[in-house]
Symmetry: C2
Subunit: 101 residues, 2 copies
C-alpha cells in the first residue's frame, strides 16, 4: 500500500440548501486533521495521508470521512471526534466504534 491510512474527508458544498458535509465546516476540520497528523509525525511516506474529496454520497450521515484501504467510515461532530479517530485509528490502529457508520 502506498499509504497505510488514506483518509478522505468529504468537503462538498451543495449549492441548493440540501444537507452536505461542508455545512459542518468539513474543509476546516480536514485542514485541522492534516495539521494534527503532520504534528504527530504520521504524515510520512507509507504512513497517513489526509485528503479532501468531492461528494461521497453519504450526505444524510455527514459530515463523514473514510479511511482506506480498510474502508472504515466515520461521522464526526467536531474536532474532538477527529482527534479520537487520529489517536485511536491512525496512530493505534483501532476502530472508533462509537463514530463508525
Amino acid at each position: 500500500m502506498f499509504y497505510k491510512y488514506h483518509v478522505f474527508f468529504c468537503t462538498n458544498q451543495r449549492p441548493d440548501g440540501r444537507a452536505c458535509c461542508q455545512d459542518h465546516q468539513a474543509a476546516a476540520v480536514r485542514q485541522y486533521a492534516k495539521e494534527r497528523v503532520k504534528a504527530l509525525g504520521l504524515a510520512v511516506p507509507g504512513g497517513v495521508r489526509i485528503n479532501t474529496a468531492g461528494c461521497l454520497n453519504r450526505c444524510a450521515s455527514g459530515p463523514v470521512l473514510v479511511v482506506y484501504p480498510q474502508g472504515v467510515w466515520y461521522r464526526y461532530q467536531d474536532r474532538a471526534d477527529v482527534d479520537e479517530v487520529i489517536e485511536q485509528h491512525l496512530r493505534l490502529g483501532q476502530i472508533v466504534k462509537r463514530l463508525q457508520i
Copy 2:
C-alpha cells in the same frame, strides 16, 4: 464495503507551475469516467463511485487515480486509458497492469 470500487481522481491544480494532475485535464477526464460508469450501470449502491480528490501527492507520476479498497494506483494518459480501467478493473475486476504504478 460501502462501495465495491471507490475511485479517486486527483484533480489538484498547483498554482505555481509545478507538475500536477490538473495540467492533464484531470477534472474533465474524471467527469467523463463518472458518466461512463453511470452509463454502464455500475454506479449503483454497493457498486462503483467516481470521486474527485485533492492532491494525492504522486504529482510526478500524474495524472493518477486510485481504486480503493484494493489500493491500486493508475496513471492514465487519455480517455482510452480510463475506458480500459473502467472495462477491465471496474467491470471485470482485473487489474490493468500496463497502467498500474
